[in-house]
């Protein structure tokens, strides 16, 4: 994805790319474990998706700062992965504590998903892609948030599919995860349709 001189234009391009054409789950295959693990009910899927948006946006912002003000000036760009993992883990812990105190209802709703995000590859993926694509601060944050929105879209769509699949007639040997993986694959194929979309 090339960087546009027009900031707004580039932000739109980044958003559309992150949500549809380069959806984290369906075309980059990042964050597949919560995608399969937390998608049996639409409610929990939406909760997980919202938590991911939140953490991805925040992680993008903080990791950009860490990268540009600490790692790059010191010539330590090779430590990015390590430093980002540290940042994400600490961030998730902090957010968890904050929510427990400030918004207990949201904390209850997110439940186990918040700590699960610590080890979510989509979050690490988004911050590393920010570096790879050489995004500016604003672009990074937008990429993080829209990447999260793409994740939310994917997981909510998929959980709705799963809720229906449960009551449909399929061969017994497909019971459980097999039918789930097949439907995930079909959904990903459908999303491949977006890849023909050219953005400006």
């Amino acid at each position: 994805m090339s960087i546009h001189t027009n900031l707004l234009g580039s932000l739109v391009a980044i958003s559309l790319g992150a949500i549809l054409t380069n959806n984290f789950i369906f075309s980059q295959f990042l964050g597949c474990c919560p995608f399969l693990g937390c998608s049996d009910k639409t409610d929990t899927a939406a909760g997980m998706g919202l938590a991911v948006i939140f953490v991805m946006g925040l992680a993008s912002a903080i990791c950009w700062v860490v990268d540009h003000y600490i790692l790059i000036p010191l010539g330590l760009a090779f430590l990015e992965t390590l430093a980002f993992i540290l940042v994400i883990a600490a961030l998730v812990q902090f957010v968890e504590m904050f929510l427990k105190k400030a918004v207990p209802s949201l904390y209850q709703a997110l439940g186990i998903y918040l700590p699960l995000i610590t080890t979510n590859c989509a979050v690490l993926g988004v911050v590393l892609l920010n570096v790879q694509n050489d995004y500016s601060f604003i672009e990074s944050v937008v990429y993080g948030i829209t990447g999260g929105i793409g994740f939310l879209l994917a997981i909510v769509l998929f959980s709705s599919v799963r809720e229906r699949v449960q009551f449909s007639d399929y061969p017994e040997c497909f019971e459980g995860f097999p039918i789930c993986l097949v439907s995930a694959g079909l959904l990903a194929l459908a999303f491949m349709g977006f890849s023909g979309m050219s953005i400006m």
Partner: protein, 263 residues
């Protein structure tokens, strides 16, 4: 050399700063959790059987710590747990009477008449859908497809010869089987109870004789002969008053249909 030093320093400092921030944040955002809740949770049996009426052991522990639930609800834990919880909560102990499940039917394949041959799904509820009351002529009989077995988390109830039977050594009295039984013929009785009539039929004696070899025909012999007035025939069925029963076993001896069992 510098690179190594910088790497170590920067990551070390970064880690230190984050660690410090988290430690600081945990102080600021500290949420008081009742320490008794954890203490209570540790004393519970941990089977998550739901016998207390709360969603799992954690739910019950929370309710106990908040003073919203009595301390004697943990059935698998029994008296011992109730005592410990009462100690933690500083309330007077009210012991939980140990309970055990009992199937009030003994009419299996050998004894109860069948109305039709059922070949649908092996599930008591679906068998109930046919003709309303299951596959046996007696409308109170155990269907024997083991919904209770599947509900039991302790492997304590099994279908033998077409009728469910409780393994008294394993049963903890959580009541999951009683809940799962569509016929509602599984009853929680005090563990100390010595005799029980194994029949649920409220049909008239003449009807029972036709449908089952081991059904209560309401002859009232037990009622007449009970030395402590603990057994009565109510709605054509012998019912024991647990508070009066001394467990002498006389009724079991004289029962004309041999349905009063000594446990």
């Amino acid at each position: 050399m510098n690179t190594i030093l910088f790497s170590i320093l920067s990551l070390g400092i970064l880690g230190g700063v984050f660690g410090g921030l988290l430690a600081f944040a945990s102080k600021i955002f500290h949420v008081e959790v009742d320490p008794r809740q954890e203490a209570v949770r540790n004393c519970l049996a941990g089977a998550n059987c739901g016998g207390c009426g709360f969603p799992g052991c954690d739910g019950y522990a929370k309710a106990v710590a908040a003073g919203e639930a009595p301390t004697n609800k943990c059935v698998p834990g029994g008296e011992e747990t109730a005592k410990k919880l009462a100690e933690i909560m500083g309330v007077e102990e009210s012991s939980a009477e140990a309970k055990i499940a009992f199937v009030r039917c003994s009419g299996g394949d050998l004894n109860a008449e069948r109305r039709f041959n059922y070949s649908g799904p092996e599930d008591c509820r679906s068998a109930m859908l046919f003709g309303g009351k299951g596959n046996k002529t007696c409308t109170f009989a155990c269907i024997g497809f083991g919904n209770c077995t599947r509900a039991c988390k302790f492997d304590a109830i099994h279908v033998e010869n077409g009728v469910a039977k409780v393994n008294r050594n394993r049963c903890v009295g959580c009541g999951a089987c009683a809940e799962a039984c569509p016929k509602k013929i599984i009853e929680l009785i005090p563990k100390s109870q010595k005799v029980m009539p194994a029949c649920s039929s409220k049909a008239k004696g003449a009807v029972v004789i036709k449908s089952c070899k081991v059904g209560c025909i309401a002859c009232t012999k037990c009622q007449r002969e009970c030395p402590s007035d603990a057994i009565h025939v109510i709605d054509n069925l012998a019912v024991i008053d647990y508070s009066k029963c001394t467990g002498c076993g006389h009724c079991a001896e004289i029962c004309t249909r041999k349905i009063i069992k000594v446990l």
